[in-house]
């Protein structure tokens, strides 16, 4: 160990104060003084009168209250959302006298004598604003959390354009108007369509705009309730104290003074027994109080006695020969945080390295020999590619609201991707009976992999609710979300590929290091097992632990960095061999899912007619690149779907939709379209419209539903829908035969056919008694590749994608612009086509962010977060994406119920690689390191 530094937080490095002091009291203030002889009488509270959505409100506010909090918490309008807290994301947007403004940085006092319009007030006389209808009809939303802000802004823009006459604004005009809004799901392509169409008057008609997404109405009106919107009588607010040091030993943590503060109700220690802090931001304790301001003041009173230690920040520091161990004890190494979606397999440790994990190699010795051999007589490409740490940063932060009913019954509202699993985990952790735990997650503002496990937000809310005997809400702020909410680890991957003279792939080696912070279990090289699978390969994945926040699985874990390296290496190899990179891939590729995509790609003129490398010589150079991707097929075989028919409903569709035919499952809709997939699948079976089917998800009391992870939702749920529909049809046939004396009755798509004709399903439902059936997921024909482990089965398929990106490189200012993107996907039958397109577009948008902008940065010595908001952590905006074309090839997967595999992850694996190859095609510079910032581009172009 290197020398330790001792001192209290106030003293910083080397200081030795005599007594513990209040944590955070070091926070500086510019001026603290009382005015002398003021002419005006200062007041502690301010009375404001404001007109919100046509209603006057007289409110007493604190001078530092924000407009957003006042509207949400005092007036109770929850449509506008807290997103970033510094005006960067626009989720909080309201109209102030008709002009959209950011309300998270607007003092509440500014609302005085002003007219405020929130998303709830956009509809006039019961009719939605045309832009709300446009967002619904064009599916310009996914999780829906950013939607109220977008809609309020877009309504003002559309009204302004319409005032000048009906015309379709350009994409650039739309992008300029919506520049202050961020959508993490990447719904931008549809938002362009919606706003442009609304300006032409296309959505003026009140009737006729049917939404492809069944919960779209709730999202465009602000009616959708997310966990952060949940209020409960007597609810307390929790705030956590985050360690400012990346490595320290806390000797004493004393919150007695904090507890004595009026309004404070309880505290819970979150720091482990040993008192070791291993990353900056780690939660030390949480406090519940009557409001947020009181909880924050209480945190200032916590006393800490701490020994600050040298931190290993980043992979290079952790790999240095003299580096101390992040986990010096054997016991510590047994249970580090898990960065993967699966169970951790035992691995060897070497210093701060864990691994290499080589299980997915195939004839590794042969691969190495083949590469050596190819050096004299074949073609070899070798290189090292690196990627940055990417954060999930869903716009709804991690959040939980917990309420106990007596000592044994618990309700938790949780922003989660795994309602069923969380209920089980909570019951187990707190020793409760399964039926006494209820997890609710009606709407989830994005997850991307970061909300799939039981995490601190649930622990804080549940523990504090118990201690305080009152409901407690805990939500991360944006800084904590970027710090702790989850990240995709940075990687360094060294790849070698070799072909023989004929151009056949003869060997692959891949050696990947992952910068997982304190977590372990990341895999990248493994992806090389599922693409071009014929050749031998040596695949190694090694975790490097350091004093950084733990990585978590993020959408397509391991995929984007792996394909960034591999698909550029393949491109390089094709270039060396003077061969068309698409033809080369096609020759190596036995995957039936991708075969038709090669033919599709050849129909794209921009690809077909792309010309030679570095053809442009001017300032702006265009290029086009291709990359292929592959992903696993997962299913959760335990998935169930309950279908209920309730008696006493009329025959008309509206009544049926209200409660006549209701599907339920304890899954959740995080913007992936679970509700819509179920509604469409069930409706199709009975010749109904999706809006005729009521769908209930987001409640653990329903039958077991799949988590949203591993692209499993649709492939898990469609089978049980079929099964439930079959059972329901049988029940209805039996009922109708009995009731109406039908003969030779049997179910068909239109209804019950019998020897006297056909009785329409709608008519059957209108008279049916109460019926409940539960559908199950039939096993894939021929079984699984791996039977279920922890409830997840690996199917015998690998899905396929082919992506093309066109870029423009500004060689003067170093900016890369993605001009246009195409993505072809072989995932089988599409269950909800419009939503599938939205999801694919969103995956490409996130991939563009990964390629060009997103990058979490920590202080290189102390390890605390620098990119603590959405100003500094840069996700793509609407102006950054260019048109995106999505092509589905729906063949294959005939042995899977539903004839499909997952879509959510494969869509985001290859954008960066395709962009890298396009940059090479444009400039002949081969990018190695992500993100492709202007400084890197200029350096690369200089050579």
């Amino acid at each position: 160990m290197s020398t330790t530094r001792r001192g209290f937080i106030k003293g910083g490095v080397g200081a030795t104060l005599a007594a513990p002091i209040a944590c955070r009291s070091t926070l500086p203030t510019e001026v603290v003084a009382t005015p002398t002889a003021p002419a005006l009488v200062p007041s502690e509270r301010v009375t404001i009168r404001t007109r919100v959505n046509g209603h006057d409100h007289d409110l007493e506010v604190h001078p530092d209250d924000g407009a957003l909090e006042i509207v949400r918490d005092h007036i109770g309008l929850k449509g506008a959302k807290h997103g970033c807290g510094h005006g960067a994301c626009g989720a909080c947007t309201m109209q102030l006298d008709g002009t959209p403004v950011a309300t998270c940085i607007l003092p509440a006092t500014a609302l005085h004598d002003r007219k405020v319009t929130t998303v709830e007030g956009l509809a006039k006389e019961g009719a939605l604003h045309p832009v709300q209808r446009a967002f619904m009809a064009e599916d310009a939303l996914q999780c829906g959390y950013c939607t109220p802000g977008f809609v309020v802004e877009a309504a003002a823009f559309v009204d302004r354009v319409r005032a000048e006459g009906e015309r379709e604004p350009t994409r650039d005009e739309v992008a300029a108007a919506l520049a202050g809004h961020l959508c993490r799901c990447g719904a931008y392509p549809a938002i362009y369509r919606a706003v442009q169409a609304a300006c032409t008057g296309k959505y003026d008609a009140v009737e006729g705009a049917d939404a492809p997404r069944v919960d779209a109405l709730a999202k465009v009106t602000g009616a959708a309730i997310y966990t952060v919107d949940v209020d409960a009588p007597g609810m307390l607010i929790a705030k956590a104290l985050h360690a400012p040091w990346a490595h320290a030993k806390v000797r004493r943590l004393d919150w007695s003074k904090a507890l004595a503060l009026p309004g404070v109700r309880g505290a819970v220690r979150l720091l482990g027994e040993g008192g070791i802090v291993r990353y900056a931001g780690q939660e030390l304790l949480a406090i519940a109080a009557v409001d947020e301001r009181t909880a924050e003041r209480a945190l200032d009173l916590v006393e800490i006695d701490v020994e600050i230690r040298d931190a290993l920040v980043g992979m290079d520091a952790a790999l240095a020969p003299s580096a101390p161990l992040v986990y010096p004890k054997r016991a510590d190494r047994k249970s580090p945080p898990n960065a993967s979606e699966g169970p951790l397999l035992p691995e060897k440790w070497d210093g701060n390295k864990r691994g290499p994990f080589e299980l997915f190699s195939k004839a590794p010795g042969k691969a190495e020999r083949a590469i050596d051999h190819a050096r004299s007589g074949g073609t070899v490409t070798e290189g090292t590619w690196s990627t940055q740490t990417q954060c999930h940063t869903a716009l709804e932060p991690h959040a939980a609201v917990a309420a106990w009913d007596g000592p044994t019954r618990l309700t938790v509202y949780l922003s989660t991707q795994a309602v069923s699993a969380m209920a089980g985990d909570i019951a187990q952790r707190w020793g409760l009976r399964d039926e006494d735990v209820r997890v609710l997650s009606l709407y989830v503002g994005g997850g991307f992999g970061a909300k799939a496990t039981l995490q601190t937000e649930a622990v804080v809310a549940i523990e504090l609710a118990k201690v305080c005997n009152a409901p407690v809400r805990y939500a991360l702020d944006r800084r904590a979300e970027i710090m702790l909410g989850g990240n995709r680890p940075g990687t360094r991957i060294t790849v070698a590929l070799a072909t023989d003279r004929a151009g056949d792939l003869v060997g692959i080696t891949s050696d990947a290091l992952a910068d997982c912070g304190v977590a372990v279990g990341h895999i990248s090289s493994v992806m090389f097992r599922i693409i071009y699978p014929d050749a031998p390969r040596k695949l190694m994945d090694t975790d490097v632990v350091s004093h950084g926040p733990p990585s978590k699985p993020m959408r397509g874990p391991g995929g984007p960095p792996a394909f960034w390296a591999l698909e550029q290496a393949v491109d390089e190899l094709a270039h060396q061999r003077k061969e068309d990179p698409l033809v080369l891939r096609k020759r190596w590729d036995p995957n039936p899912a991708r075969k038709p995509l090669y033919a599709w790609a050849q129909t794209i003129p921009r690809w077909r007619d792309r010309g030679p490398v570095a053809a442009d010589k001017g300032r702006y150079r265009r290029g086009v690149g291709v990359a292929c991707g592959a992903w696993f097929a997962f299913a959760e075989p335990r998935t169930r779907l309950q279908l209920d028919v309730r008696a006493g409903r009329g025959a008309d569709a509206k009544a049926t939709s209200a409660a006549g035919l209701v599907a339920s499952t304890a899954s959740q809709d995080i913007g992936n379209g679970t509700r819509t997939v179920i509604a469409r699948t069930v409706a199709a079976r009975f010749g109904l419209s999706p809006s005729d089917v009521g769908v209930r998800v987001g409640d653990s009391r329903f039958v077991h539903g799949p988590m949203a992870g591993g692209s499993r939702t649709t492939s898990s749920i469609v089978g049980p829908c079929y099964d439930a529909c079959d059972q329901m049809a049988d029940e209805l046939v039996e009922f109708a035969s009995r009731r109406f004396g039908l003969r030779q009755a049997k179910p068909s798509t239109d209804g019950i056919t019998h020897d006297g004709g056909t009785m329409a399903w709608r008519d059957v439902f209108s008279v049916a008694p109460d019926i409940t059936v539960v559908g199950r997921r039939r096993r894939d024909e021929g079984g699984y590749f791996l039977p279920p482990i922890l409830g997840l089965a690996v199917e015998r398929y690998v899905s396929g994608s082919l992506q093309i990106a066109e870029v423009e490189v500004d060689t003067r200012l170093g900016r890369i612009r993605v001009v246009e993107s195409w993505i072809g996907l072989g995932v089988g039958r599409i269950a909800a086509p419009v939503l599938a397109r939205s999801q694919a577009e969103g995956g490409v948008v996130q991939g563009i962010g990964y390629a060009l902008y997103e990058e979490r940065r920590l202080d290189p010595k102390a390890g605390f977060l620098l990119t603590g908001g959405l100003e500094d952590y840069r996700v793509p905006g609407i102006g950054d994406i260019g048109p995106i074309h999505v092509h589905f090839d729906e063949h294959g997967y005939d042995k899977v119920p539903g004839h499909n595999v997952g879509l959510g992850e494969i869509v985001t694996l290859t954008p960066a690689a395709a962009i890298g190859n396009a940059v090479f095609h444009a400039t002949s510079w081969r990018p190695r390191d992500l993100p492709l910032r202007p400084d890197r581009v200029l350096k690369g172009l200089r050579g």
């Binding site: 926070l27 002009t99 005085h112 202050g180 920590l858 908001g869 202007p934």
Partner: protein, 321 residues
């Protein structure tokens, strides 16, 4: 505690004693939440004056301190006479921020350094003893190392207004040029030099020069809504196909907006053709002293200046007076 004066004169009277002024509040509100700023508030919500843009004698224009940035960007007189200023105002922050933030607030906002905004770093600007960025990650910081603090100045309007030799009127203190208001970049503690007891009332724009051509360039990685890596305003006077005077200001590169004297001097007498501008643009580097991670900004500065000069030459001349 808070007061709501009804005039800026009255507001200035409330300041002795350490109260802080809140106008649009976009920066003040966030900094108070981050506990970077405390003290009583003097909220300008009810102030009636200083909310318009009006002509003054001698062709000058007075822009009220409380004019919203969006209003400045779209004001017909500003667009016609000061197009680069309008462009700069329309390119900063986001539409929802420009709609509430004021022009004087933009000048007087605090910097966006990620150490200044981090609770973990007690830096020079917060009264601490060291610049964390200098020793740490300063990828987006200064390449003109002018003082102990290496944060770049945040005010796009400050940069653009220096190119126009604008002044500010002040109550509770002396009027001064925008350049003097923002200082020379060596003050480790402050982002501006306005006394605690003073309030800016107007920004005064000298008359545009007849036939001047001007432009603004914001060099960023995304399309919009990003703090600039480098930004620049150029104003060029052109007679008989030659540049006869020039004013070039840049931001994002130093703790204060910079006027590039060497570039301006070199431009005088240069042919008014794009291909003749490179030599002058190369002088943008004069005096640059990059930090280990900001060398790229020196290069990007030269490129941005070349870009803004070219763009200015392409522009139609303004009417002038």
């Amino acid at each position: 505690m808070i007061v709501f004066p009804t005039s800026l004169q009255q507001a200035a009277g409330e300041l002795p004693g350490g109260a802080v002024v809140r106008a649009g509040g976009t920066d003040v509100h966030e900094r108070r939440r981050l506990k970077l700023l405390s003290g009583n508030l003097v909220d300008l919500r009810d102030v009636a004056d200083a909310r318009d843009i009006a002509a003054r004698g001698g062709g000058e224009i007075g822009v009220g301190a409380l004019v919203r940035i969006a209003a400045l960007a779209s004001d017909p007189g500003i667009v016609a006479g000061y197009p680069a200023l309008a462009e700069a105002a329309g390119g900063l922050a986001t539409p929802q921020i420009r709609a509430i933030a004021t022009v004087a607030g933009n000048l007087l906002q605090r910097n966006r350094c990620w150490y200044y905004r981090s609770p973990e770093a007690h830096c020079l600007k917060k009264g601490g003893a060291r610049c964390f960025a200098r020793e740490g990650d300063h990828l987006y910081h200064a390449c003109f190392d002018l003082g102990p603090c290496v944060a770049v100045h945040p005010s796009t309007l400050g940069m653009a207004l220096s190119a126009y030799d604008a002044r500010v009127d002040v109550v509770g203190g002396a009027g001064r040029t925008v350049a003097a208001l923002l200082g020379d970049g060596t003050d480790a503690r402050h982002d501006h030099q306005l006394e605690n007891s003073a309030v800016v009332t107007h920004i005064v724009l000298p008359a545009p020069r007849a036939g001047e051509r001007s432009a603004y360039v914001r060099t960023i990685s995304r399309a919009r809504a990003e703090w600039p890596l480098v930004e620049a305003v150029a104003r060029l006077g052109v007679e008989k196909d030659a540049i006869v005077w020039a004013s070039v200001a840049v931001g994002g590169v130093a703790p204060v907006p910079l006027r590039l004297g060497a570039v301006e001097a070199k431009l005088v007498g240069t042919a008014a053709r794009p291909e003749a501008l490179a030599e002058a643009a190369a002088l943008a580097k004069d005096g640059a002293k990059p930090l280990p991670m900001t060398g790229y900004k020196v290069d990007l500065l030269e490129r941005t200046v070349l870009e803004v000069l070219e763009k200015a030459l392409e522009r139609a001349p303004v009417g002038g007076v």
